[in-house]
């Protein structure tokens, strides 16, 4: 059923989230918040070297430390054959995942795990780690993507022969694969162009920056059954990968989803759980593991740093006739950067006849890349949206008008083959044009920038159940970890369908043994796909309730209607029966067929793509290079906003992550390839005083493929900020920056050079 044009009572309002009181009182249980009797503390030994062969690991002294109950290395994990997996939002190989969580023959980045201990106290575990004797043969390392591609660069994997190249190379290199997307004839297009802009753009690796470090509590029982308590963006993923990496059956692993303290894509894969299970198996005790903040920065999955070449050609009237990009993304120590989406997202917003995008997935000695909010798109759009602003300057056309003129519409075919349908980009652009931020004058000395963003959003597999309990109250459960308030939206959709108030629906996140398979909380898919499942489950319950009312009244089911939480006879011909509410029907459930519940699994198709436009005003202190964000507006097509506050929250949060990416966040390496800033002191995320209020403007273009019109919202907002700020700095100072972050020393140096 489709409720898009209905008079909605719950969906679209702003109730308090059902898990809210626990979260404001400290009662909510996150990954590190549980204990178990006899619990051991697990800790990981990490490589101090960026690249080295492991000659030997001697754990004997560690094992002798009082309190140590188990020590594991790669020897305790089965060797996994190469097998492609869809890990989070990017491709990864299970063999690589296994080697990433416990190095075998080589360490490939500083922070690479190679051993772990479990002991009765954290201090004993630390003492044991210090006594593990590892003999390394230190090798030359390479981190920068261009350096990793160059001839003579140290090669990480001697079995890496670039895929996507014909003929296949005879020598191994650090280029895992090459991808290419073409539409039309870019060279011919450029020949037609009146104005061409070209540029080279570079970015540094940045981290998702979730405040909760990875942690888990794992118990391997003597009967071979495993329980894991952990937060993640997918407890079914934890189960699957732990099973795979340890050679266990999935049915023997039960994962309880803890509350999660942020993920942004970085928790769509695992690091600790198989290690904790292995330690538990060896020691016979529950094992708790927790990454330190330094471990998180060194040993989890920051996104790619990149170098990009871009060329865009347009006619005098602003029609873009050709666009070309070459993208080189860091994958980290193993193949699998978001080069695919990176190649697709930059030009996806525009109707361009001739497009040529080439992308390189390049390994280097830094942690394996994990997904980070719209993986690949923020990086590519930094180049595209900056170049478009420069193009607008050269053409003498307003940058927003340039986007309007070339905007993709329903029916526009992208350069990666998909045809846009049910998109709302034009609407976003129209709202942007009329918005007071855009129409207001720029304060003297300040600069204003604008940039756009796109993300596909995904659907996929989700399961949900709705139960009407014996007293008529309702429990709804899904398999989607709640990372940003989705429980509230699930409950709201169920309440809407059932016609009751949202406070009568209790929503929970069920563990892997208690609900059907559910894919990750990521890809901006939960409100869409899990929402679809829970809506369908509620609809099934309504049909069931109508059937039971019909049975109770002994009338045909077609003569029953469901309204405002009650069954009514449909019209006076059906009979003069008093309506039956949930409590009344539940009371008689035993006589009308048994328990009242429905479980639905979907493989949701038709996820609606998202488009956003960000406007930013900055003030630049030319002497110091400091940039102040004076005003920020983020406009986005969000489909139907189920709970508008949480939709606004996604937009504001993504925008501020983008502000950090633009101005202050970066991985800084020393001369040995070691991370110089593995902490929140020198890895500089925006603090409250760094940003103004972020005005989030919700443009609601319903996605007809979702019962309520929802489309994914969480990822688009991180795509535009870097270019919006870069363009604003340009309009304030004249400086055309092309390297992230646009930190004060760079701005001061560019200022001095320009003078």
């Amino acid at each position: 059923m489709n409720y898009i044009d209905s008079n909605l009572k719950v969906v679209g309002t702003r109730p308090i989230r059902p898990d809210g009181i626990d979260k404001v009182t400290g009662r909510a249980v996150y990954s590190a918040d549980t204990r178990a009797a006899g619990m051991l503390w697990g800790k990981i030994l990490r490589s101090p070297h960026a690249h080295a062969r492991i000659i030997s690991i001697d754990t004997s002294k560690a094992e002798a430390v009082p309190g140590v109950r188990a020590v594991v290395t790669a020897a305790d994990f089965p060797e996994i054959a190469s097998e492609e997996a869809f890990v989070g939002e990017g491709p990864m190989n299970f063999r690589d995942l296994s080697t990433n969580i416990m190095a075998r023959t080589k360490v490939l980045y500083e922070g690479h795990a190679l051993a772990a201990v479990a002991a009765t106290t954290p201090a004993a575990a630390d003492e044991a780690l210090a006594l593990i004797d590892v003999k390394y043969e230190v090798l030359p390392y390479v981190i920068d993507v261009d350096e990793a591609m160059a001839d003579g660069a140290p090669v990480l994997h001697d079995d890496m022969f670039t895929a996507g190249v014909n003929p296949k190379p005879s020598k191994p290199s650090n280029i895992a694969k090459v991808v290419t997307f073409k539409k039309g004839d870019a060279d011919a297009g450029f020949a037609q162009a009146d104005i061409i802009v070209e540029g080279r753009y570079t970015t540094k690796p940045v981290h998702q920056g979730y405040i909760e470090p990875h942690a888990c509590l794992a118990t391997y029982n003597p009967d071979g059954q495993v329980t894991i308590h952990a937060s993640s963006q997918g407890h079914f993923m934890i189960r699957a990968y732990t099973a795979k990496l340890l050679g266990l059956d999935m049915a023997d692993i039960r994962v309880n989803p803890a509350e999660i303290g942020g993920g942004f894509g970085g928790k769509t894969l695992i690091y600790l759980e198989p290690v904790a299970v292995a330690l538990s198996r060896k020691s016979g005790k529950p094992v708790k593991m927790q990454m330190t903040r330094e471990d998180v920065f060194r040993g989890s999955g920051p996104t790619s740093g990149a170098s990009m070449d871009i060329k865009i050609g347009a006619k005098k009237d602003g029609t873009i006739v050709a666009a070309k990009q070459v993208l080189r993304f860091q994958a980290g120590a193993f193949a699998g950067s978001p080069i695919g989406p990176g190649c697709m997202c930059g030009f996806a917003l525009y109707d361009i006849e001739n497009v040529d995008v080439l992308g390189y997935d390049v390994v280097s000695n830094r942690p394996k890349v994990a997904a980070y909010r719209a993986p690949g798109a923020p990086i590519t759009s930094f180049a595209v949206e900056s170049a478009l602003d420069d193009l607008a300057d050269k053409l003498g056309i307003d940058p927003l008008e340039l986007r309007i003129k070339n905007a993709a519409k329903n029916g526009t075919k992208t350069h990666y083959g998909v045809t846009h349908a049910n998109i709302g980009f034009e609407q976003v652009l129209a709202v942007t044009k009329a918005h007071p931020h855009w129409t207001s004058p720029v304060a003297p000395g300040n600069g204003r920038g604008i940039a756009m963003g796109f993300w596909f959003n995904i659907g996929g597999e989700s399961s949900a159940t709705v139960h009407v309990n014996e007293d008529g109250s309702v429990t709804a459960a899904t398999g989607s970890p709640d990372i940003g308030g989705s429980r509230a939206s699930m409950g709201m959709m169920v309440a809407e369908v059932l016609g009751i108030t949202v406070d009568r629906v209790r929503t929970t996140v069920a563990d892997t043994a208690s609900i059907g398979f559910t894919f990750l909380t990521g890809g901006s898919r939960v409100t869409f796909a899990t929402g679809m499942a829970v809506t369908q489950a509620a609809e099934k319950v309504v049909e069931d309730l109508k059937r039971r009312a019909a049975q109770t009244w002994d009338i045909p089911v077609e003569a029953v209607e469901w309204r405002d939480g009650m069954a009514y006879p449909a019209g006076s011909n059906a009979g003069a029966f008093e309506p039956l509410d949930l409590a009344a029907l539940a009371l008689k459930a035993g006589r009308t067929g048994g328990p009242i519940n429905a479980e639905v699994s979907v493989n949701a198709q038709g996820a609606g793509a998202g488009f956003g436009a960000h406007i930013c005003d900055v003030k630049v202190d030319k002497e110091t290079g400091h940039v102040e964000i004076v005003r920020y507006t983020a406009l986005q097509d969000v489909g139907k906003a189920i709970h508008p506050s949480y939709v606004e929250g996604q937009i504001q949060g993504g925008a501020v992550q983008g502000i950090g990416w633009a101005l202050s966040e970066e991985y800084i390496y020393n001369a040995k390839g070691q991370l110089d800033n593995p902490g929140f002191l020198d890895y500089r995320c925006p603090v409250a005083s760094d940003v103004p209020m972020i005005e989030a403007v919700l443009v609601e273009v319903p996605n007809p493929r979702h019962p309520f019109g929802a489309r994914g919202v969480g990822e688009v907002p991180i795509v535009p900020p870097m270019a919006a700020i870069r363009n604003a700095i340009k309009h304030a100072t004249g400086l055309q920056l092309t390297d992230l972050p646009m930190s004060p020393p760079k701005i001061r140096a560019a200022s001095d050079a320009a003078a």
Partner: protein, 295 residues
């Protein structure tokens, strides 16, 4: 660390005895905002921690002979709430206030900041500019040491292992005197100073500077007292020529390194920028033209 001891003596003598008698590494604990971080990272592995917060006089502010005396372990938040200190030494107070977060302010101390001896410490340039005196206690009794003689290099001080700072004495303020402190950081809060500058001035009735002290942080192995920059100010008003010379003198005094927080070139330029801006605030405050925070 398995044999770490902790003591919270209630007199100076007891504290000195503990420090003198320690067989391993003994560290003084005031606010703990440096020590605990260094213990966790393994940079410092003490055998004994001597907590000075229970010694009378270590926490608190009093007036003596026309000047303020601040207990060495007094938390930043306490100093900032003190009306007298804020009025006489707005630069010292704002510098101290910049250390870390509000949470850090609840614990951090002037003595800790000074004796941690980071060249980028925020309160230290302001302390130097103020010509504060550290009252050092040890087995031989007490001695008074100008604060600029305490740090000797990154992480090193001139104190003996059985000495610690009891309190800081601030000189009485002549009329038309004030100070200011600014630092440059990439964000708006929470960063370690890329450059810091503290300046204290006394002016005559015509706005001409009669006394000045200029101090720069994060541009050398220790915080610097830059006499050449102070000499630029004395005898002058803060006109364009003086500002230019001040900028140059500040830059000339820099011996910075390039690290994850700043390059040599950038730090040097910013030292000049900050010196000009801090001098402007200090002069304005001394002339009674403004009061309150610089930021």
């Amino acid at each position: 660390m398995t044999s770490l001891s902790y003591a919270a003596p209630t007199s100076v003598d007891d504290a000195v005895k503990l420090l003198a008698g320690a067989s391993g590494l003994a560290k003084v604990l005031a606010g703990g905002t440096d020590l605990l971080v260094q213990m966790r990272s393994g940079r410092v592995k003490p055998d004994l921690i001597v907590d000075t917060k229970k010694i009378p006089g270590l926490i608190g502010i009093r007036e003596e002979n026309g000047g303020f005396v601040v207990g060495a372990s007094t938390a930043g938040a306490v100093v900032e709430a003190h009306a007298g200190m804020t009025k006489a030494w707005p630069g010292v107070v704002e510098a101290l206030d910049l250390i870390g977060s509000t949470q850090v302010q609840g614990r951090c101390s002037l003595a800790g900041n000074l004796c941690n001896a980071s060249p980028a410490a925020d309160s230290v340039p302001a302390l130097y500019a103020a010509a504060a005196i550290a009252v050092v206690v040890g087995p031989k009794g007490r001695r008074e040491v100008p604060v600029e003689q305490i740090p000797t290099g990154p992480g090193r001080t001139s104190l003996a292992k059985d000495e610690f700072i009891l309190e800081f004495k601030f000189p009485p303020r002549p009329a038309r005197s004030s100070d200011a402190y600014l630092r440059f950081i990439p964000r708006t809060e929470m960063d370690i100073a890329v450059v810091g500058c503290g300046i204290s001035v006394t002016l005559d009735a015509n706005g001409v500077c009669t006394a000045a002290r200029v101090s720069l942080g994060a541009v050398a192995p220790t915080v610097l007292l830059v006499k050449a920059a102070a000499d630029v100010l004395v005898g002058h008003t803060l006109d364009a020529d003086t500002l230019a010379k001040l900028d140059a003198a500040a830059q000339a005094a820099c011996k910075p390194i390039s690290d994850k927080r700043g390059t040599i070139e950038y730090r040097t330029k910013i030292a000049g920028v900050l010196a000009r801006r801090v001098a402007a605030i200090a002069f304005d405050r001394a002339a009674g033209k403004s009061s309150g925070k610089a930021h």
